[in-house]
């Protein structure tokens, strides 16, 4: 018996979501009174994982591009080797891509969007969000092996230092019919999935030419930029920025909505963000009912002021 976590890194450093998965895995291992093992790809320094409760790292060297099928296969082999009965992954695009294949490989029940440690381990019951964060449900996983997809930012980072062992792991690599031709990723830009803060704007901004101040605000905050659906449908911003029930989910610590009315489909996607700030000229905009802090005001006046004040604040607090 053991718990296994899949640890993602980027440019050799562990992603925050991965350390959160380790923290969560530790809590599950504690509940089951067992060990926590982690699979790590192409990473030299694994020490931070010991801080988040990982007993043993299975370190894989696989120089090729991420391939979900091959990675899922490697995780299946690692889970079998360690006799894992719970496998935990993050909600990143890559983790969500490979998790269903992993679960078939292990003949395991898979529950995504899990927001808490298991309610009980016998029976094995987890709480997950459903209906695009409009509700939660408790689900019992009835298979012997369980795969859990942890919601971003739901559990947080919890340190528990243990002595870490690193073992190199050489699984057999299967073939895949899929080949990666090209990866197009903006360097130095925070993605919505990884962002602690998201600055989002809607049709209230009037046109794409007005996004300069949104990008500047995001820049000052180290935030990702996002938008409402009509803004991406109109081609003002790329589709990848569309958040909401039919777009991307946002689970950041801070979500700033500028000139967005707060339609039910938009709110569904951002409800699990912790703190929401709204800037809107219309005091009746539905978003004010769903937010923590609000300013009734014109974005074209408020945002430049906010940028200026935040710059001063940052200068004083760094």
């Amino acid at each position: 018996m053991s718990v296994l976590v899949y640890i993602e890194s980027e440019n050799g450093a562990f992603k925050k979501a991965a350390l959160e998965v380790a923290s969560y895995g530790r809590a599950v291992a504690n509940a089951l009174n067992t060990n926590l093992n982690a699979v790590v790809f192409n990473t030299k320094d694994c020490t931070p994982l010991g801080t988040f409760g990982v007993d043993k790292v299975l370190s894989v060297n696989h120089s090729e591009q991420f391939n979900a099928k091959i990675y899922a296969d490697i995780l299946v082999q690692a889970a079998q080797k360690e006799q894992a009965n719970v496998v935990v992954l993050s909600s990143s695009a890559d983790s969500r891509y490979l998790a269903p294949m992993l679960s078939v490989g292990l003949d395991a029940g898979y529950v995504p969007n899990v927001v808490e440690i298991p309610k009980s381990t016998q029976p094995f019951v987890v709480k997950r969000s459903v209906f695009s964060n409009k509700a939660f449900c408790e689900t019992e996983i009835t298979t012997e092996v369980k795969v859990i997809g942890l919601s971003n930012n739901a559990f947080g980072l919890v340190e528990q230092s243990v002595s870490l062992e690193v073992e190199s792991f050489s699984p057999s690599i299967t073939s895949s019919e899929i080949s990666v031709e090209n990866v197009d990723k903006a360097a130095n830009k925070v993605s919505i999935a990884d962002a602690e803060t998201v600055v989002s704007a809607g049709r209230g901004l009037k046109g794409p030419e007005n996004w300069g101040m949104i990008e500047e605000l995001a820049d000052v905050l180290g935030a990702a930029t996002a938008c409402s659906k009509p803004v991406s449908d109109l081609g003002w911003r790329p589709h990848s920025e569309h958040v909401g029930q039919t777009g991307k989910p946002v689970a950041s610590n801070l979500y700033i909505a500028i000139g967005i009315s707060g339609a039910i489909q938009h709110l569904a996607g951002i409800n699990s963000s912790k703190v929401k700030v709204v800037i809107n000229t219309d005091p009746e905009a539905p978003f004010f009912k769903a937010a923590d802090y609000g300013i009734v005001g014109d974005a074209f006046e408020v945002v430049p002021k906010l940028i200026e004040k935040l710059k001063t604040f940052k200068a004083q607090n760094s």
């Binding site: 269903p100 019992e140 009835t142």
Partner: protein, 248 residues
């Protein structure tokens, strides 16, 4: 080319979410059901392959008789034939197994599903089908071209996109981008009339094996009151975000 489009039947995005039977069941009263938005993009892309590359397009749902109106809508949009596997869709893994069985028997080259259903947001059925079928899989698919048995697909990744090529058979988890919002097909009168004569075959499920059970539902805790800040008083907002919310 034979295409199978998986259609999940979900509450309209404006639905109020309530539960009955002591919070153990979703309350469907007053709820409008629609084709899952991600599947609408996939279905429209399939129509493009039908028109431009002479593909045949079948649609399928795993669910009770109440989903047939949704399948008829897909037929009205232009699908050739529909299947319904007659069992409630309670477990993603079980649904994937039923769909895979039909896909295998029908020798489909391309299976289009959605990135996720907007009800349970599982994002599990297409990847599980691919694994069951031993087919290639592209998730979060935002563009798909097929030429001489080779697919070129674009997948959205966190912070960018990735272009992939694959042989067929292929399963995709599709989403907006496969076609533009403005190109989505809606049924016209002629389509609706024709759909009545198209075959909708009901199949019995092969197994009832499940991997999970939903025990009970819960609504999020009600939100606390909002704090309003004057537009002239940005310093106060910064102070609240720093000292009270501790997010900057």
């Amino acid at each position: 080319m034979k295409i199978l489009v998986c259609i999940s039947h979900v509450p309209d995005t404006t639905s109020k979410i309530n539960f009955t039977n002591d919070n153990t069941a979703f309350d469907t009263s007053g709820v409008q059901f629609v084709i899952n938005p991600n599947d609408e993009f996939g279905l429209t892309r399939a129509m493009w392959f039908k028109e431009k590359q002479n593909a045949s397009v079948d649609v399928i749902n795993v669910g009770g008789p109440e989903t047939e109106s949704t399948l008829r809508k897909a037929l009205a949009i232009g699908a050739d034939a529909a299947f319904r596997v007659n069992t409630p869709a309670t477990d993603g893994y079980a649904v994937a197994k039923e769909l895979s069985k039909v896909a295998k028997e029908g020798h489909y080259d391309l299976i289009i599903a959605g990135r996720e259903s907007i009800d349970y947001n599982g994002g599990m059925v297409p990847g599980m089908m691919a694994a069951e079928l031993g087919a290639s899989f592209v998730n979060n698919c935002i563009s798909l071209e097929i030429e001489n048995n080779t697919a070129t697909a674009v997948r959205e990744i966190d912070g960018g996109k990735e272009t992939l090529t694959s042989s067929l058979p292929l399963v995709i988890g599709g989403q907006k981008g496969l076609v533009e919002e403005s190109d989505l097909k809606i049924p016209n009168m002629r389509g609706i009339m024709m759909a009545r004569k198209k075959p909708l075959t009901v199949l019995e499920p092969s197994s009832q094996q499940t991997t999970s059970t939903t025990l009970k539902y819960e609504k999020p805790a009600p939100k606390g009151a909002i704090k309003m800040v004057e537009a002239e008083n940005i310093d106060e907002l910064i102070d609240l975000l720093h000292n009270e919310a501790k997010v900057i």
